[in-house]
């Protein structure tokens, strides 16, 4: 009881951390199961990174192509992920995505319509059929708002601008979490029978990144610290088409929908270079000539344009063109829809893109090609979960959405993230509630653990060094961008580990100015501990995987290696930090193997 008088304390069956698509869906489900549920988020409700998703939500609804099915969606997902996916997650995802999309409609979402009045679906990279339910190019906003407004009436307690910093355990099982209110800087303790991590992305440690300040890897780092396994941390997705000019727009994405709707990639010679980069793996289903590719837009039984190869392929191709001296003036390539579609069509299909370029870059995309380049975007790796239940390797801790790993393997297909959020968000809420309701008394909170956590959180105020957290963050971004970027090599990765160790030492020298009230410098100093832990895990995993596959490209091991295709790289906490090792992937059942191997 000493504990409880020291902090603002709340008790719940289920605490969901993170209020993007996965967190909201998990909270809705946990609450529907009768669990007393809290939803804790770092920003205001409805501002999570899910709002940034543009293109759509992938589901084999078969509204546009009757030929589509969960099997084809499963096959596309596995092949896009270079078969490193957890097959069971990919199967559940493909099977349940249509129900989750229809559920959003039932809750008020308004997707674009077919002529028959059903949900319209659009083409996207790596998806064999037009499969993405969408709302223009602001599908994520539609999804988060629908979930947010649905959740408001479900009796869920929402804690906004509340930043969780540490998971707490009672022996082997989870017992809650502690964090601070951003507004006051005061601590808040959540005692809980189950915790769902839905903390999203982690790539704020890269210089050119689409991720917001929130994507600091705190969920992944807290899970590791609590003893959970991480897998596939080397698998970082670089979105091929981010804005690159002027400098202030770096990180803002150009939706893949531009290519789905007819845009093509061109180099400085005006050539559609993607035809030069069709890998053997996708040859059978990819068009070989411009004529054949253009015919596909009207007749989807034709082979697809290579502009829509999976993101890892396109990002590497752009990187190679720029390196070969065929890039645009600001170090990217051109994405041209202006010469291929009429202005009215472009403005109707891609209103946000039109506005974004007009306002931020003085470029009219109905008249001029866009300059684009690869941008750190999505982390395929993360917390290891059980496919059906989303349970992590820590009892009572569940994870869903970008923080969890396995679903996307070595590379995520566009449109598979929003569907991942709702499919596994729902499952996380369901199984977390089931687990919580089976528990007896509230698990205990360890006073010493709390004491250590609060002391650590206040440490940046007590320091006497003269380091600035913003400078350390900028140096971390430079390190990761240059040494653990899109193309990697052993010597640079080892150098990165050294630099990360130096940054960690410098972080100990940070002294925060000001008080605890809404102090971003303090918040960043705390976030940096998570970012550094996650950066180290990515780097160690990248060293371990001595091959190239999906989001992980090694200059010194450029080929795909079948032995590495059978393993996950796992990160685990050790007494003095973390260690990585290889563990076998779950074996794919024969009937699913047959689906994957089927020629298109």
């Amino acid at each position: 009881m000493v504990v409880e008088s020291r902090f603002e304390t709340h008790e719940y069956d289920v605490v969901v951390i993170g209020a993007g698509g996965a967190g909201l869906r998990a909270a809705i489900e946990a609450s529907a199961q009768g669990a007393r549920t809290a939803l804790v988020c770092k920003s205001l409700l409805g501002k999570a990174h899910t709002v940034m998703a543009e293109g759509g939500i992938a589901a084999a609804l078969r509204n546009v192509w009757q030929e589509d099915s969960w099997e084809v969606h499963f096959r596309d997902t596995m092949r896009g992920g270079k078969l490193l996916n957890n097959w069971r997650m990919a199967q559940i995802h493909a099977q349940e995505a249509p129900d989750r999309v229809l559920e959003l409609e039932e809750w008020g979402a308004l997707f674009d319509r077919t002529k028959e009045g059903l949900i319209l679906q659009r083409d996207f990279g790596g998806h064999r059929y037009a499969r993405l339910a969408h709302v223009g190019d602001r599908t994520g906003l539609e999804m988060i708002r629908t979930l947010q407004q649905h959740a408001v009436h479900k009796g869920i307690d929402v804690y906004m601008e509340c930043n969780v910093q540490k998971l707490l355990k009672d022996g082997e099982r989870i017992s809650g979490a502690i964090g601070y209110w951003r507004e006051s800087g005061k601590f808040v303790l959540f005692r809980a029978k189950a915790v769902v991590l839905a903390t999203g992305g982690i790539l704020k440690m890269y210089q050119i990144t689409s991720n917001s300040w929130e994507c600091t890897g705190d969920g992944v780092s807290m899970a590791l610290d609590a003893g959970a396994d991480l897998i596939d941390m080397e698998m970082v997705q670089f979105h091929p088409t981010g804005m690159i000019w002027p400098p202030s727009v770096r990180g803002i994405l150009v939706t893949e929908g531009v290519r789905g709707d007819g845009g093509t990639l061109k180099n400085s010679e005006g050539r559609r270079f993607m035809f030069d980069y069709i890998p053997e793996f996708f040859k059978a289903e990819t068009a070989e000539t411009e004529e054949e590719a253009d015919a596909w837009y009207d007749d989807k039984t034709k082979r697809r344009t290579p502009d829509l190869l999976p993101r890892d392929e396109v990002a590497r191709a752009i990187n190679a063109e720029v390196k070969a001296g065929r890039g645009s003036p600001h170090g990217g390539v051109y994405l041209d829809i202006a010469s291929r579609r009429d202005p009215e069509y472009i403005r109707r299909r891609l209103p946000s893109m039109y506005q974004q370029f007009m306002e931020l870059a003085d470029v009219d995309i109905t008249k001029t090609p866009m300059e684009v380049g690869p941008t750190a975007h999505y982390q395929m790796g993360g917390v290891r979960v059980e496919a059906d239940t989303t349970a992590t390797t820590v009892l009572g801790l569940f994870a869903a959405g970008e923080v969890a790993a396995g679903m996307h393997g070595a590379n995520r297909l566009g449109g598979n993230s929003l569907s991942d959020l709702v499919v596994f968000g729902r499952r996380a809420g369901l199984y977390a509630a089931q687990y919580a309701l089976e528990q007896g008394e509230m698990p205990a909170v360890d006073d010493a653990e709390l004491e250590a956590a609060t002391t650590a959180m206040l440490a940046p105020f007590e320091g006497d060094g003269n380091e600035n957290p913003y400078t350390i963050h900028a140096d971390l971004e430079t390190c990761m961008q240059n040494l653990v970027g899109i193309i990697r090599t052993e010597s640079e990765l080892v150098q990165a580990l050294d630099e990360l160790a130096t940054l960690k030492a410098r972080l100990g020298q940070v002294t925060v100015q000001g008080n605890r009230q809404y102090n971003p410098g303090w918040h960043l100093a705390l976030d940096l501990h998570h970012m550094l832990a996650v950066a180290e895990s990515i780097t160690r995993s990248a060293i371990e995987r001595k091959e190239s596959r999906g989001g992980h490209t090694r200059d010194d091991f450029p080929a795909t290696d079948a032995t590495f295709g059978k393993v996950n790289v796992v990160t685990r906490r050790t007494d003095d930090g973390m260690a990585v090792c290889q563990e076998p992937l779950p074996e794919i059942p024969d009937e699913l193997k047959a689906i994957i191997e089927e020629k298109s």
Binding site: S43, L44, L45, K47, A48, H49, V51, M52, L102, E105, E106, W107, G108, L110, D112, R113, E116, G117, L118, V135, G136, R138, G140, L141, R145, Q149, H150, V152, H153, M160, E183, S212, W213, E214, W245, P246, P247, S248, V249, G251, I252, Q355, Q356, E359, L360, A361, D362, P469, Y470, T471, V512, Q513, G514, N515, Q517, Y518, N519, P520, G521, W522
Partner: protein, 263 residues
């Protein structure tokens, strides 16, 4: 938008930022190097990183999608991430203040909980029965106008600029504000919805307070025609529901039969 290039490259930017909390505050002046293509939020971040590490500011997407970085820039409510520095004359001092309508927390961060409380009062979406084949059919032309309302990013600039609450704190309990009218219009015009919110509109949401000055429409970064497309049709609906004897009779007899005055 006037476009200048002087403030865009080379040189220094001078910015006055309100620093303070609920107990009061003042504008403090900062100078920082300008770079090409900068938006106001870039400058604020640069000042934060180099001179004022505890400067409080909300932001997330930096792309005009999340509606977090609302502030009053030279007196005009704007998203800082979508306001380019070349919008201002070279050498012009730029003044950033927090949203005036909401209580200050610290620096540029205000307490916007008013909006979330009002949102809780909105009766949920309630669809009618499905089609015989188990589907939901809606046609693009029927969803177009509702999709306009769904573009709202909840930046609350419209709430901030609405003089019903900007200048009259005491109106807040009885007035939901333009953001919520857009939300209510989206629900009322949703082709599938069957819930009735007319009573709420007339009573607790205080639709009658709005006298159509269109200040909200002017500041909407998503260019939603809040007044013309949301508020005025809602006002017509309230009038029809309450004063049309035919509608009154249908309502009595069927239990719903809402008037769809503008369909």
């Amino acid at each position: 938008m006037a476009t200048h290039h002087g403030a865009d490259s080379g040189g220094q930017v001078t910015m006055r930022i309100w620093r303070g909390d609920a107990s009061g505050g003042t504008f403090e002046e900062y100078q920082t190097p300008a770079a090409e293509g900068m938006v106001v939020l870039d400058v604020v971040h640069q000042i934060q990183a180099t001179q004022a590490p505890d400067l409080a500011v909300r932001w997330n997407c930096k792309a005009g999608r999340c509606g977090s970085c609302s502030a009053e820039v030279n007196g005009k409510p704007r998203l800082m991430c979508m306001t380019r520095m070349n919008h201002y004359a070279p050498g012009e001092t730029i003044t950033i203040a927090p949203l005036k309508t909401f209580p200050p927390i610290k620096d540029l961060v205000t307490n916007v909980s008013f909006n979330y409380e009002k949102a809780k009062q909105v009766p949920a979406f309630k669809p009618g029965p499905k089609e015989a084949d188990g589907t939901r059919r809606m046609y693009q032309e029927d969803v177009d106008r509702v999709q306009e309302f769904h573009k709202c990013i909840e930046c609350f600039l419209c709430q901030n600029v609405c003089h019903v609450i900007r200048d009259h704190e005491d109106n807040k309990p009885a007035f939901a504000g333009p953001r919520l009218f857009v939300r209510l219009a989206a629900l009322e015009m949703h082709p599938l919805d069957t819930n009735d919110r007319v009573e709420l509109l007339k009573q607790k949401a205080g639709l009658g307070y709005c006298n159509i000055t269109k200040c909200c429409t002017d500041v909407c970064p998503e260019s939603i025609k809040i007044t013309d497309n949301a508020i005025i049709p809602l006002k017509e609906r309230v009038v029809t529901e309450y004063h049309d004897p035919v509608v009154w009779l249908i309502r009595k007899l069927t239990g719903n039969g809402r008037a769809k005055s503008d369909e």
